[in-house]
Symmetry: C2
Subunit: 705 residues, 2 copies
């Protein structure tokens, strides 16, 4: 470098070379991505994760640059390998390999042996220097480490970055350090500036933070990769060892020089090292900010020993102290988004250990139709939401009465005022107030009922309700039957049976409950070539529906009943239990490979560790009694005389449609005639009377209202 | 009446005597009282009820008076006899006997045979005339009837009043009718006016609406009771038949005259009847409003036949039509009061048939302390409220987190904003928004836990919490243990055990639950003379507490646990089930004659129709699993090594108080040493490790948070 070599200034000559610490900047995206990764993929796994940090040369005269961690620093779901290759050629994002150790608990985080971790990283850097890997890919010289604990519940993150630097002993001595614009002659400055910009503008080299500057005697400068060292040396040209310097200080080179010096010294045995701290301003090389310096390095001889554990420093200080950092995203996050994440948290945690096969995406997409939004409907909606179900349609024609809020968990006193809001609307709105992301729609509509004759002028309205109910069931995946009378469950049962749609019934007696899933319908949804359903019938007995055990058709059960017969006279604990079991039954069913065709299982009938049923057995019916503290599972097959799901009824419904419904509504004996129940009852005689008396106590008729 | 007899005016001479209908005025108090009577006392009973109506003379020149029904028209709870005697001597409330037929259904109301009912009442009036009862108590001449259906759910009342009047055939003929001031001479007017005021001012006669006016030849008038008829007749004085006339019309006498004429004609065989329609103005007799008239009456001879069913009229028209009336109290009632009535409705209806022995007053007075207001606490509070429990204190130190509302049924999204409200406060407030009459108080306080050592400077605060917890448990009847860790249940268990207070525990595993009631404590609440508890111990084995089966003392179970171990990883249906069972267990216990000392019953162990347990069996523990669709009852006696309820621990606690607590908190092995568990464990060896691993899956440790 002859006449251009910078003359040592009094202030820098012979002093120990010192480096301001590298700084990390971890953005919210990184933590969000880590949260998702932890919840969905890593779960309890604490293995180190290969990540990427990004940095760029300092680009401002008074602000140093950071090592930044973004969401793309972390692996993608599909590929847990290092994400380095995904982002190349971005001049502001020179990728640096890093390792993330995310612990499962705060205690583990605190008790990590940081000293050993740092030494292990330093050892890897040393190995990469000797192996030549650092010459091929110099970014490994900046290898970093981050340890963290993610409190996913509170969106709080404890973390600590380290930029491991091999400690030279004795330390390097700085012989001189000047702005490049002063250290070089003006031709060299111009040429070097141009060469740097060329290097930075090429997508191949722009994110390569270490390089050689070769300056010819005629002041022509070019930038070359490290692996050209032998060539440069042989050519006898002056060489500066250049690096992207994140530091803005005119008095010191940045942190990356530390391992670079060790590399140059160890790899190439250079002791007097001319270095070039490359810095920019407004996106182009700036030779007044960039520094040129000269350092004397004598590497510790111990490093030659393959077993050597090098001394290292690099844990990032916080406010001058060695301590971890904490960031809370909760405060900065959009509350609704936070609510969504939080609601998913418990569900995703289930997949960590207990239920890895839980299909939360499926659940969030399931469209549920709730017929009746009383004690059962409110509770079912809540528990569906807790399971992550997002799409619900709530049907009820009633208004919120004063007696409702203490038992119907979606309503408050406010909803009862001024005559009461429509339950369907109040329930949908209140669900959103609990969880803004739920897609709940309320539909104010009565369910047409057989045996409740209607006048001619009502016919159009009722048939419209029939049609609307058909459309609703068709456009949902699951229908819950949660109304307060037996007869209001008939039409939805029939429609579900015809469409092979999942139907779940919950019904309450005074202190007993029934929860069941209906079996598949008697015929294929699209009629086969022969128009019959032999294939379905021959597949084995279908599970029954709510009406399969009945020997009378559903009739008007509301008129002429005393108040205690009309109202929900049930023990208050009943509805929460039945509702919970109904939703759990659905979740089990949706996770069964055979879905609606899954056989009914009874308690104790299968091994609990069955792989196919991680959620447990999948019963057909669950009946329980609070007063007896008992619960049992039952299995009932479909009846050929069923007024709601037998082939005779479904066939008639398919052929005659609304006309059929109208007849069922207006003519109480029609369904019994159609299914042969009339004949059956005649043969049984007066037994029927006893049965009807028992009905109320049996829990199949007095439900909620 | 000689020269004073009014000369027939052209307009009234010989015309048929006509009467404007009597009118009823039923006030809200009547319906409220009827509602209470129906719900609490009558229940399904439809027997006729004897009631009282009240009326007074017309007191305004342009407004007729009514027959009024007030709350005191109905019988009191303690006495279903006619309430007539309760209100006598009130000048504005002449009591009239009536009969109320309140049906159980609207259909029954509509199908009542009103014609027959009216005739039956008319027949009773006829009988009272013949028997002389009407002479003794002329109010029976105004005997009335009201039929009703009370829709207690909607606070709507359908009703129809009848004022049965015997129909004279041929009808009475009005010979003349004039204001008394015109019909009588001025001396007579003055004298009659004074006599009327005297009658009305005497508490004995003021509410006697029928009387005789005897006018002496020197124009002196006096009023006499009907039974003086024979005397009056014999004295040869002029007699007017007087009655309190509710009617204001100058052209017609009021309705009471109808049966009065029939009475006079039948009882005394008078055919030409001089009557006096007594009316007032501003509380005194008004002779310009009062009328004097003369009518010709010939009673139907058929009435002499004892079997005769007399023709009668009297169903009150509504707007000129014969139809029932409907009144809705819902609109006029204070909404909060309406809410209270409505909330009680379902509970009271239970007593109609299913649970006559249900003690709702007891439940509304029970003071419940809920420790923990998470998934379990929210649901328990709701179900307690549905059972009519009004007094609740909710203790929690946490704030509502974003993940809470979808599972913790008392919170909404709004409660999570700005860092989240304290759960205890939000829960108490939101309970009131559901049901304004609930007396819920939130207390933000942590539960001190054993094995969670505290620093010296925390000691005062923690001991204060201990003291406060003692006070809270002391001032409540029941403590629910609903916190999320095992160790936080220890101190309340111990305090309840010491005080013999009812403690109910609910705890969740991933898909299993435990609900139990703790047994009584090992010693009497007030130490006996010998300071020992031999008498209690010898009474038979005590039921165990939550810790009785444990072989390790409760320790810090929160620190150093992964997120899924820290959070509520439970199936969403679990908490509603466990909460419901916990409340139902309490309600059963409170209805058991032995309360906390009641033996533990197992499913199937007793006859279901047991009179002593109308709410069913009273188990000690209920354990269930959703995945196995199973539920079973267990019975476990107290352990002598129990760290929470054994005599050793309770004795130590009594003797050393807060000092003992502090040692338990700070010294993890203290409780085990004290109870001999340390020794036990040493003898068992390494088995303990397996047990701890199973713990999480066993449901006793991971609860809600």
């Amino acid at each position: 470098m002859a006449n251009t070599s910078p003359s040592p200034s009094p202030s820098s000559e012979g002093r120990i070379l010192q480096f301001p610490p590298f700084q990390s900047l971890v953005d919210d995206g990184f933590w969000r991505r880590l949260s998702a990764l932890k919840l969905d993929t890593l779960r309890t796994d604490q293995s180190p994760i290969f990540i990427s940090g990004f940095y760029a040369p300092c680009s401002h005269s008074s602000v140093s640059n950071y090592l930044a961690l973004h969401s793309e620093s972390l692996p993608s779901d599909s590929n847990m390998e290092s994400p380095l290759e995904r982002v190349r050629g971005n001049r502001n994002k020179c990728p640096i390999p890093g390792t993330l150790l995310n612990t499962n608990t705060l205690e583990s985080f605190r008790s990590l042996d940081r000293e050993s971790l740092l030494k292990a990283e330093a050892k890897r850097i040393l190995e990469d220097i000797y192996s030549g890997r650092a010459e091929e890919d110099p970014s490994v010289l900046l290898r970093f480490l981050i340890i963290s604990f993610a409190d996913l519940k509170k969106w709080g993150f404890y973390y600590w970055c380290a930029f491991p630097a091999l400690v030279l002993d004795p330390p390097a001595t700085l012989l001189n350090l000047k702005p490049a614009s002063e250290a070089l002659n003006s031709d060299e400055v111009v040429s070097l500036s141009a060469a740097c910009n060329e290097w930075r503008n090429s997508s191949v080299t722009t994110d390569v933070p270490f390089f050689l500057v070769s300056i010819s005697p005629n002041s022509g400068a070019i930038l070359r990769p490290l692996k050209d060292w032998e060539l440069c040396k042989d050519e006898g040209q002056k060489v500066l060892f250049g690096f992207y310097d994140p530091c803005h200080l005119p008095t010191n080179p940045g942190w990356p020089l530390r391992n670079f010096l060790a590399f140059i010294s160890l790899r190439w045995n250079v002791e007097k090292i001319n270095f070039f701290c490359y810095r920019e301003k407004q996106g182009t090389a700036d030779m007044r900010l960039s520094l040129v310096g000269e350092a004397l390095v004598s590497p510790p001889s111990a490093w030659r020993d393959p077993e050597c554990i090098p001394k290292a420093v690099g844990w990032e200080p916080k406010g001058g102290k060695l301590m971890p950092r904490f960031v809370s995203l909760a405060e900065s996050m959009d509350p609704e988004r936070l609510a969504v994440s939080a609601a998913e948290l418990n569900l995703k945690l289930m997949r960590w250990r207990t239920l890895p096969s839980l299909d939360l995406d499926m659940l969030s997409g399931v469209r549920c139709l709730l017929l009746g939004v009383g004690t059962l409907g409110c509770e079912v909606a809540r528990i569906l939401m807790a399971w992550g179900v997002r799409k619900m349609t709530l049907v009820d024609s009633g208004r919120v009465a004063m007696s409702n809020p203490v038992r119907q968990s979606l309503y408050t006193f406010q909803d009862c005022l001024n005559g009461g809001e429509f339950k369907a609307n109040a329930a949908a709105r209140n669900l959103k107030q609990i969880f803004p992301a739920v897609e709940a729609e309320g539909i104010v509509m009565p369910i047409p009922m057989p045996g409740h004759p209607i006048s001619a002028k009502e016919t159009d309205t009722v048939l419209e309700s029939c049609k609307r109910l058909e459309d609703l069931i068709e456009s949902h995946d699951v229908t819950f039957l949660l109304t307060d009378t037996r007869e209001s469950r008939w039409l939805p049962t029939l429609i579900c049976s015809n469409k092979n749609k999942i139907a779940i019934t919950a019904a309450l007696g005074f202190d007993s409950y029934l929860v069941m899933r209906h079996g598949a319908g008697p015929m294929p949804t699209a009629p086969g070539p022969c128009g019959t359903a032999t294939d379905v019938e021959s597949a084995g007995p279908r599970l029954g529906c709510y009406f399969c055990n009945d020997v009378v058709a559903p009739i008007d059960s509301v008129s002429n009943r005393t108040l205690d017969q009309q109202c929900t006279v049930t023990r208050p604990g009943l509805a929460p239990i039945a509702s919970a079991l109904a939703v759990e039954l659905l979740v089990g069913l949706l996770h069964h490979p055979n879905k609606i065709n899954a056989k009914g299982e009874n308690a104790g009938s299968i091994v609990s560790s069955s792989e196919e049923t991680p959620l447990g057995i999948l019963p057909h019916q669950i009946r329980g009694s609070i007063s007896q503290s008992s619960q049992l599972t039952l299995l009932g097959h479909s009846s050929h005389s069923c007024t709601a799901c037998s082939q005779a009824v479904v066939t008639e419904y398919r052929q005659r449609g609304l006309e059929f419904m109208l007849q069922a509504i207006n003519q109480p004996t029609y369904l019994e005639d159609l299914t042969g129940l009339t004949e059956l009852m005649n043969s049984v005689g007066s037994c029927q009377l006893d049965w009807i008396d028992d009905d109320a106590a049996d829990g199949d008729e007095i439900d909620d209202f």
